[in-house]
Each structure stands twice: as structure tokens, then as C-alpha cells.
């Protein structure tokens, strides 16, 4: 599979870490059949008296990037662990590329790879040696691409250092390289940009997008709504071990309530009076001072222009809850209620 000469949805800008623009060659990742890359149905998992996962259905198709969202303790990581064969479901069924996945099957042998939580490695081995050994473990092909992948994740200079001396971000990069080593057909990533600086995170999202464009199915858990909106085609939201919403990003956008903004003006009372006259927005007082305006972008633009026309200066205007966050919070609160 070649990652070059493709238009990605969010091409990464040149940053501190340079993901190569061309030249990353992976094995073919064409799906074997029309079956979804990853399919889970009725998954349940209890730890003692706690139901970590309670009847989750999930599907990720080849070439799709699905975001997995949920508050802490929602079951995202447990779900990823089950899909990677680290945790056995109490009930339910997992299929990888149409084949049943269960005990006795190594996920890597189906080229389903990834990591959960922070990637962990052997501190006494160098990054290069780590990838070489993991490549040997996966088969003959992986070891040949070690240098290429170290370059891809920006670790070429630190390749000889012991992993024990690596920062969290460097280990995250190594985790991504280790995942790509297996020429994945499905990639399961748990907060892959955690620990990366903004430039690295953006480049990482670019790589994920490019892999998806080449047919790799990606399931990506994240707390970052913008990240999900930027890179994902679809979203599954978990709360208390259950799926509370799933669908495409477009549908999420359509269903999401208006975002909330914090507004400070030269005359908040007059601004509130102007706002109450419009049905397209809602203005209320913020307990911390200033106003909270709930409005879509067009209505907000009109409101700001109206304030200016009335001689009210806008001193500060920040988005405090995005549409996605607002939707997310509504769903989570609904599930909790």
C-alpha cells in the first residue's frame, strides 16, 4: 500500500515532527471480502460487580475512521482491550474481517493492531531493537521497514537510545510505529495523540487519515472532540458501558445543539436585551460575570453585528462548549440520568 499521492482530508502542515510526505510503503491492505473490518455484537464484560461493558454493538468498515467517545469509566479502553484480545468478553461476539475472533487467535495475525492507554515497551532495549524484535515476532516483512517507520514517527535520531529514557510523547510515537510495523488492516488506537505536542498530534491525525484512505479501518478513542471531528468519519459514544449514540460525523453535526460562547461587552444589560429579541439565539448571564450566548455561527455573527450597530463593544468572545461537546454532554447526562 502506498500512502503517497493521495489527497488526505486534513493534510498535516509542516511542523516540528515531519511525517514524510511521500515514500511510506505498506503492504496491501485491501479487505478480503465485503465483511466489515471489525464487528462486535452484544459484548458484555463485568469486573466483579461492575459492568464495564453492557451489550455493546460496534462496526468499523475498511477505510473508515470511527471515533470512540465517552467519559472516564465509560468502557472505551475495556472495549478496545476486548477487540485486541487482551480481555475476554463474558458475552458477545467479535469478528475481524468476517472471521470469528476469540481465544487462540492473535489479533496481529489478522493484522489488527494497536495499543491501549500509553504504549509500553522494554526500557532496556533501544527503539530500533524494539521494532526489530516486534517485526520478527510478526513475521519476516516487518523488520525490513524499521528504519522507514522510525523516520515516519520522527525517532530516527533517538533510535539507538534505550526506551527507558524516552518521554511519554516519544513512547507514543514508538507505539504508533510498532502498530504500523504489522501492516495493519485495522488499527485500534487509544488516545493516540495523548502526550504529543500540537504539531505532532496534527501530524498523527494526518497519518491516521492517510491510512484510512488506503483502506485501513481505524477505531480511535479520544477525549478531544475537535480531534474526532477532524479525523473521524463516524462516532460511537459510550456511557456506563453502553452505546448511547452512534452515527456519522455529518449526522452528529446535524443533531448537535448550538455551541455556547462566553461574551463580555461594554454593556452586558443592553446586549442581553438585544439577544432576547432574537429567536435564533439564547443569552443568559454567566455566574462568573459576562454573558453566555448559545447560538449557531450565523446567528452569532448577526448578533455581534447588531451589538456593534447599537454601540456595544465586544470585549471578549470565546467558544466555551462546542456543538459536539454540547451533544456529548447532553448524551452523557441523559445516560447518567
Amino acid at each position: 500500500m502506498r500512502l503517497d499521492r493521495r489527497t488526505t482530508r486534513s493534510a498535516p502542515p509542516a511542523g516540528r515532527y515531519r511525517w514524510p510526505a511521500i515514500g511510506v510503503t505498506l503492504d496491501s491492505a485491501s479487505p478480503a471480502s465485503s465483511a466489515p473490518a471489525l464487528s462486535a455484537s452484544g459484548l458484555c464484560k463485568r469486573f466483579g460487580t461492575v459492568a464495564a461493558i453492557a451489550g455493546v454493538d460496534l462496526q468499523v468498515d475498511a477505510g473508515e475512521v470511527r471515533g470512540l467517545l465517552g467519559p472516564n469509566g465509560a468502557g472505551k479502553t475495556t472495549l478496545l482491550r476486548m477487540l485486541l484480545g487482551l480481555v475476554r468478553p463474558d458475552e458477545g461476539r467479535i469478528e475481524l474481517f468476517g472471521q470469528l475472533f476469540g481465544p487462540g487467535v492473535a489479533p496481529g495475525s489478522r493484522r489488527v493492531v494497536g495499543f491501549v492507554e500509553e504504549p509500553r515497551f522494554y526500557p532496556y532495549l533501544s527503539a530500533r531493537r524494539t521494532l526489530e524484535l516486534l517485526g520478527e515476532l510478526d513475521g519476516a516483512g516487518g523488520k525490513r521497514r524499521v528504519g522507514e517507520l522510525l523516520g515516519l514517527v520522527g525517532l530516527t535520531k533517538a533510535a539507538g537510545q534505550r526506551v527507558g529514557s524516552y518521554s511519554t510523547g516519544m513512547r507514543q510515537r514508538l507505539g504508533i510505529a510498532a502498530s504500523l510495523l504489522a501492516s495493519p488492516r485495522a488499527l485500534l488506537l487509544d488516545e493516540p495523540t495523548s502526550g504529543l505536542d500540537p504539531a505532532g498530534a496534527r501530524e498523527m491525525r494526518g497519518v491516521v487519515r492517510r491510512l484510512a484512505d488506503e483502506g485501513v479501518a481505524v477505531l480511535l478513542s479520544s477525549h478531544d472532540m475537535d480531534e474526532v471531528a477532524d479525523v473521524c468519519d463516524s462516532v460511537t459514544i459510550l456511557a456506563s458501558g453502553r452505546v448511547v449514540w452512534h452515527g456519522t460525523i455529518e449526522r452528529l453535526r446535524a443533531e448537535a445543539p448550538a455551541p455556547e460562547h462566553r461574551l463580555e461587552t461594554s454593556d452586558d444589560a443592553k446586549a442581553r436585551e438585544l439577544g432576547s429579541a432574537s429567536t435564533a439565539l439564547e443569552v443568559r448571564e454567566d455566574a462568573r460575570g459576562g454573558l453566555v450566548v448559545t447560538a449557531e455561527r450565523d446567528a452569532l455573527d448577526a448578533f455581534v453585528l447588531a451589538l456593534a450597530a447599537e454601540g456595544v463593544a465586544v470585549r471578549r468572545l470565546d467558544e466555551i462548549v462546542s456543538s459536539f461537546e454540547s451533544m456529548f454532554l447532553t448524551l452523557i447526562e441523559g445516560a447518567a440520568g
Binding site: P103, A106, L125, G139, G142
Partner: protein, 432 residues
């Protein structure tokens, strides 16, 4: 890319990890330098480690030195080697949080388990082989390649002694592998590197104590520490190999008994993140409780079954040793000894324990053997030996100097020799 990578790939992976860590890198050096240092110390001092089998002969034959080392190493060093090679094999993945890295690759859990077991076993075999080779080299350098006095007092030629010494180390590999399996079990079940590495040594100590407290053959026969004594029979004339076969059975069975729960533990476990301290402690306590219960059960059962230490076996063995060692002593003293001279001696033995309710059987340091010796040239001589008999069938006989001469005797050239009759070791088959 190929599919499953197989056990061999896991072995290479684990071997690379083992060789990248300092304890496993230092151990080969210790296995080489330790015996050489021991040999050097023996070379510069006249004292001998008499409490150990062959200890009295370390200045007489270089082959006694690796056998002395084997006696000590079997009990204490092999468990340490097993602990270093296998004790961290599973627990390290928990300590480093790398199970999720390893188990999400292309190898199945069964392959990872098999690869880890094979690598640990290969490491233990390598270290024991290295220790054995270094011990033989140390013996040859410190003393030389002289013939060795066997455990029946018979002379064993240099070449044969080398073969038997090497074979003894080879036979001892079997229980060493049993200890490796034990280390792997502790490592997998406790998920603690410290427990995995020190556990085999603690268990070895418990085994030693169990073999001391009871006189029954049933429990003793099942202990790995007993299998470590299997090589003794090769140095007895006539040699007996039953303990070697039994050691193979016990070692193999122990390995299976230890590895089966280790595998089930890995197969069935969920890799669900770092367990809370409370849950980890609960697991450790559970393991300690089960281990303590097992030890208590073994201690209670340690008197079960008949003892293999009997008056008749001891008498047969001590007569044979005395006969052979008398010939050797006479040779040292420069007296002409004809072929078959030993067999011309008539010896009537009488061995009994003093002050116990079962005077004709059982291990103990209270045996008294009286030998009435009749020769063609001498009148009847009666020699008393205080004998300490261990549960493994090996004994130490000490005689009063009035009858058998001083500890050191000199040959006609004035060279000192250990008086072979002053204090001698022997072994007999203590099996059922």
C-alpha cells in the same frame, strides 16, 4: 507479511530480552569465575570441605572439585539460576506493563507461553552447563587429572572419572529444569519479579528441611531436591541407575505440575490494566496461603512410607568401601598389595543405631558400625565407625585414629595423603 510467527520467533524475542538485562548477563560470568575462584582457594589452602561428598579428595583428584561444587550448587545455586532465568519471565511483563504490547502481536498466547518456557529452560541449561564446564576446568587446573576415589572406595580412572563427572552435571540438569518450571509458575501466578526470582531458593530450602524432618520415603522421593542426588549412584561400584530414572520421572512430572497452572493462569487472565494494590496483595497472600498449606501437608506426610535406610544396605556398602579403602591405604603406605587383596579380607559388619526405638533402619547420626576384620596376615581386628546416614542413602563414617591411623599419612616418598580410612563417604541405593 506472514501470519503467525511461531514459538521460535518468541524464543528469539525472549532471548534478546534476557540478554539485554544485567542480571542475566552477569550470571554467565559468575558461573565461570565462581568455580575458578573456588579452585584457586583450594589450591592455596590445605583444608578440605569434608562435610561434602568428595570433599576429602579435592587435593587428590581434580575431578572431586566439580563434584563438590555440584553437591553445593544443586541445593543452592540451581534454584538461583532458575530464579534468574525464569522468575522474571512472566512477572516482568506485568512490572513493565508490556503484556498488551506482546499479546497484540501475531503470536498466540500458547506460542508466547511455549516460547517463554523454552527460553527460560534454555538459559538454565546453558548456565548449568557453563557452571559444570567451569567447575571441571577449575578442578583440573587446581589439582589435576588424577584418578578419583569413588563412593565405594574404588579407584576410578582419569578418563572414566571425567565421563562420570560430566554425566553427573548432565543428570542434574533434569531437576534444574524442574526448578526452572517452578520459577515460571511463581512468576506467572504471583506476577511479582521478586517472588519469581527468590521463590525457587525458598522452596529449595523448604525441600531440604522436609528431607531432614521425615524418615519416610514417599514424600522424599517426590521432592526435586532428591532428584539432585541421583548422580551419586554412578560413583558407586556396582553403579545403580534407579535414582537417575526416578529423577527424570520426578523432574518431568514436577515440570508438568508447575507449568500446567502457569499456562492456565496466562490463558485465562484478562490484561485489564494495573490491578489495584489491594487486589495484588490479595493474590500474593492467596499464593502464600496455598504454598504454606502444601508445605504443611508435605511435612505431615514426610514420615509416610518405609525408609530405604536399612541395616543390611548400610552394612553391605560400608564393607565394600572399607575393603577398597584399606587397599588404597596400604598402597599409600608403600606396602605391596596384590590384585584381589581386598577380597581376601573377611569382614563381618554389624551396624545398629544407638538409643532409638528402631535400631535397624532410618537416617540419623547415631549409627555405629562395628567391623570385625580378618586377614591372612593379621589377627582379627575390630574397628568401630560412627556413621551419619542421610535420607538419600549417603553416609559419612568416622573411625577412631587408634585403629586406623591419623587423618594424614605419608607415603614412602614422604608425600602427605588423606588417610582414606580415617573418614570416608559412601552411598547406597535408598530406594524402595
Amino acid at each position: 507479511m506472514s501470519g503467525r510467527s511461531g514459538v521460535w520467533a518468541v524464543c528469539r524475542f525472549e532471548a534478546a530480552k534476557l540478554l539485554a538485562q544485567w542480571p542475566t548477563r552477569i550470571l554467565p560470568l559468575v558461573c565461570i569465575l565462581g568455580p575458578l575462584a573456588f579452585g584457586a582457594v583450594l589450591r592455596i589452602q590445605s583444608a578440605v570441605p569434608q562435610d561434602t561428598l568428595f570433599g576429602g579428595w579435592v587435593h587428590t583428584s581434580g575431578y572431586a572439585i566439580p563434584l563438590v561444587i555440584l553437591s553445593f550448587a544443586g541445593a543452592w545455586v540451581f534454584p538461583v539460576i532458575a530464579g534468574i532465568g525464569g522468575g522474571d519471565m512472566f512477572a516482568a511483563e506485568d512490572r513493565l506493563g508490556t503484556w498488551k504490547t506482546l499479546l497484540t502481536r501475531s503470536s498466540r498466547r500458547s506460542e508466547i507461553f511455549a516460547g517463554k518456557v523454552a527460553t527460560a529452560c534454555a538459559y538454565v541449561v546453558g548456565m548449568v552447563a557453563l557452571l559444570g564446564a567451569a567447575s571441571i576446568l577449575a578442578g583440573v587446573l587446581a589439582t589435576g587429572t588424577q584418578p578419583l576415589v569413588g563412593l565405594s572406595g574404588q579407584m576410578i580412572g582419569s578418563g572414566r572419572a571425567l565421563e562420570l563427572t560430566a554425566a553427573s552435571w548432565g543428570v542434574s540438569l533434569l531437576p534444574a529444569l524442574g526448578f526452572a518450571a517452578l520459577a515460571l509458575l511463581i512468576s506467572a501466578v504471583t506476577r511479582s519479579s521478586a517472588a519469581g526470582m527468590l521463590g525457587p531458593l525458598v522452596v529449595a530450602l523448604v525441600f531440604q528441611l522436609l528431607s531432614l524432618v521425615g524418615s519416610g520415603e514417599v514424600v522424599r522421593a517426590l521432592l526435586l531436591s532428591t532428584a539432585l542426588d541421583a548422580w551419586h549412584g554412578m560413583f558407586v561400584a556396582p553403579a545403580f541407575d534407579r535414582p537417575i530414572l526416578w529423577a527424570a520421572v520426578v523432574s518431568l512430572a514436577s515440570a508438568l505440575v508447575f507449568l500446567a497452572p502457569a499456562w492456565l493462569s496466562l490463558r485465562n487472565r484478562d490484561i485489564a490494566g494495573t490491578a489495584p494494590d489491594e487486589r495484588r496483595w490479595r493474590r500474593q497472600i492467596r499464593v502464600v496461603v496455598v504454598a504454606t498449606a502444601a508445605v504443611a501437608l508435605l511435612a505431615v506426610a514426610s514420615n509416610w512410607g518405609p525408609t530405604g535406610i536399612t541395616e543390611a544396605r548400610l552394612e553391605r556398602s560400608i564393607v565394600r568401601s572399607f575393603r577398597n579403602l584399606t587397599v588404597l591405604q596400604q598402597r599409600y603406605l608403600g606396602r605391596r598389595v596384590t590384585a584381589g587383596a581386598g577380597s581376601q579380607m573377611r569382614i563381618l559388619p554389624s551396624c545398629l543405631r544407638q538409643g532409638v526405638s528402631t535400631p535397624r533402619k532410618g537416617p540419623g547420626d547415631d549409627w555405629l558400625c562395628t567391623l570385625d576384620v580378618f586377614t591372612a596376615s593379621l589377627a582379627q581386628v575390630t574397628v568401630d565407625y560412627d556413621v551419619t546416614v542421610k535420607a538419600n542413602g549417603c553416609y559419612t563414617a568416622e573411625g577412631p585414629p587408634a585403629f586406623i591411623g591419623p587423618l594424614t599419612i605419608r607415603d614412602r616418598h614422604g608425600r602427605p595423603h588423606v588417610n582414606p580410612l580415617f573418614r570416608f563417604d559412601g552411598c547406597f541405593d535408598a530406594g524402595p
